[in-house]
């Protein structure tokens, strides 16, 4: 029988990172993600890892930049306001083509906001976040198991494309306990060698990790190169979970914690005889646009459900077939409780048409 552990989502992130060979963590305390640095500060000494509690979020992302420039698997974690502080460094990492994992166990905003579950950082996560027009790879787990699995995947994708990766969770996913089946990490055999990393030139040509391009045409060429990588990600790396698409008259889409509520509401709708399907984006960038286009070639009504007042819905509208109708149901954070499956079921009944 497989070993099953009862662990918190935040701990699963830390366990997945250690299993994936990450040995450098730099961070700063903030609720609701502090279980991650606490777990890593306890476990890293046993595996020879380097844990630094930095003086700020800004310092920690820059330490990550430095360790990554040396070719190491490295990570940081934080929550919304801390992620805002890290955006400068994330932009520099994107410009310098440095891999690395940034975990956002998000709070609810804006400002200091609150610590209840929220998806108000979707725009920040998928549209760049910092200056300069770049993307990070964004993965959205919806279970403790996925907090573990997608952490490993994030490192692999980030290393392969030399694009920083973000794991986007929230306080529910970070704090809840669920069964986790740990499994050994197996590095993809075709991961490219880090032949760009600094190490002291030691007989070879100088290596420089930088984002400044002042030569005539250099920056444009660099930005086209980044663009091609984002296109390659869009073509090759989108991931989503689907259910009941064959006969669905209404497609419900949600990511992360809301997709759990959606699954229950869809089951209840099916029990009533309503043919409702699910499309759950797992990669938020690259967004699974082809999956939406394919699903809405047949199912013309889409209900997007989020814990905000409408963010992912914009990407859904850009992805669906031209004659599909997109509806939205969401609530901003601050209610102190999550929407219930019954609440979503009422919305499903409203927008459902046979």
């Amino acid at each position: 029988m497989q070993k099953r552990l009862l662990v918190k989502g935040n701990e699963a992130v830390a366990m997945g990172a250690i299993e994936a060979g990450c040995r450098f963590y730099f961070g700063y305390p903030i609720t609701p993600q502090s279980d991650i640095p606490e777990y890593i500060s306890r476990e890293f000494p046993k595996v020879g890892g380097t844990f630094i509690q930095a003086e700020s979020e800004i310092a920690s992302i820059n330490m990550l930049l430095g360790a990554s420039a040396c070719g190491m698997r490295a990570m940081t974690s934080s929550s919304s306001p801390g992620i805002s502080l890290k955006q400068e460094g994330i932009s520099y990492m994107a410009g310098s083509e440095l891999p690395g994992l940034i975990v956002n166990i998000s709070r609810s905003g804006p400002g200091l906001g609150g610590i209840d579950a929220s998806q108000s950082d979707y725009f920040q996560a998928v549209k760049g976040g910092g200056h300069g027009g770049y993307h990070t790879i964004v993965l959205a787990p919806h279970s403790v198991q996925e907090m573990y699995d997608l952490t490993m995947l994030a490192f692999d994708l980030s290393d392969r494309y030399r694009v920083p990766a973000m794991l986007l969770g929230d306080s529910v996913l970070g704090q809840m306990k669920e069964a986790l089946i740990p499994h050994p990490y197996v590095a993809p055999a075709d991961l490219p060698a880090k032949d760009w990393a600094v190490s002291g030139k030691d007989g070879r040509a100088q290596r420089v990790v930088k984002s400044l391009y002042l030569g005539d045409g250099e920056l444009e060429a660099h930005n086209w190169k980044l663009y091609r990588k984002y296109q390659e990600l869009r073509e090759r790396e989108t991931r989503c979970e689907t259910a009941g698409l064959d006969d669905a008259k209404l497609l419900v889409t949600a990511f992360g914690v809301t997709s759990r509520i959606a699954k229950t509401a869809i089951r209840m709708a099916r029990e009533e005889g309503l043919k409702v399907g699910l499309l759950r984006p797992i990669t938020l960038f690259p967004f699974p646009d082809k999956a939406f286009a394919d699903a809405t070639a047949r199912t013309k009504r889409v209900l997007c459900f989020e814990l905000n007042t409408g963010q992912m819905v914009e990407d859904v509208r850009l992805s669906v077939a031209r004659d599909a109708e997109v509806f939205f149901y969401g609530r901003p954070p601050g209610a102190g409780s999550l929407p219930t499956p019954e609440e979503l079921l009422a919305q499903i009944r409203t927008y459902y048409k046979d």
């Binding site: 040396c70 460094g89 100088q206």
Partner: protein, 251 residues
């Protein structure tokens, strides 16, 4: 008597043989050379990782023939922390100006120093933001006119110039902290010796080492190079005394 000749002077191996972009009379070139000579002296070029900052010194990689990581403005000590922790057997240094280190990067420098990170920081103090056109810096002297203190730095409004070498010497993690200048041949020689001491501090694993170098910015000071050198002697050194404030090897 042997007829064999001994070479006693040459271009440093660690420094590329290229023309710099620095203004006439700027002393970054002199300081670059002193750092490169220290690198050659200890034979560490091949194991050095430099961390460049934002400002006139951003093109570190264009002049030093070493591996370089470019840091965001003020963040070089944090980037260098990641580098040194990832590569503890490498020689790691940052090269930062006064706006970068003593204003926007104050948090990063103080905490890297306080952790005793085994890096060397070369801090160039020319009392102005050179790259952006001569604005007031955290090191701008009282009453000094700059493009953003056109009536002279008013300490009542703008505060006082920060003495970083003295400030950092107070921290337990700092093994070496000194201030030098490169305005006279004698001071250049002394600066070279002090930079080597800072390098040695790192190579011996004694902790964080810091050298502040008083430097001329004739373009933004509106002076010719000789007058700029005189200003260092007459105005800067009295406020920013040349000394070694901490050296744990002497203890």
């Amino acid at each position: 008597m042997s007829t064999a000749m001994q070479q006693v002077f040459a271009h440093p191996v660690s420094l590329k043989d290229v023309q710099t972009h620095f203004c006439p009379g700027c002393q970054h070139g002199t300081i670059h050379r002193l750092v490169a000579e220290a690198m050659d002296h200890f034979g560490v070029q091949e194991k050095t990782i430099g961390v460049a900052s934002v400002g006139c010194s951003v093109f570190l990689y264009a002049y030093f023939d070493i591996d370089v990581v470019e840091a965001p403005h003020g963040r070089a000590p944090a980037v260098a922390t990641g580098v040194k922790r990832a590569c503890p057997d490498k020689f790691v240094f940052t090269y930062q100006g006064d706006g970068d280190l003593a204003a926007i990067g104050t948090s990063e420098i103080i905490h890297a120093a306080n952790r005793g990170e085994g890096m060397t920081v070369i801090f160039v103090n020319n009392t102005t933001y050179g790259m952006t056109g001569g604005q007031m810096a955290p090191t701008t002297l009282p009453n000094q006119k700059t493009s953003t203190s056109p009536y002279g730095r008013n300490v009542g409004n703008d505060g006082y110039p920060i003495r970083m070498a003295e400030l950092l010497a107070q921290l337990e993690g700092v093994a070496f902290s000194a201030r030098v200048a490169v305005n006279t041949p004698k001071n250049v020689m002394q600066a070279g010796r002090v930079i080597k001491q800072a390098f040695e501090t790192q190579l011996q694993g004694r902790g964080f080492s810091f050298v502040e170098v008083l430097s001329a910015c004739p373009t933004n000071w509106g002076m010719d190079p000789l007058k700029a050198n005189a200003r260092i002697a007459e105005e800067m050194i009295p406020y920013f005394p040349l000394a070694t404030f901490k050296d744990t090897s002497a203890a």
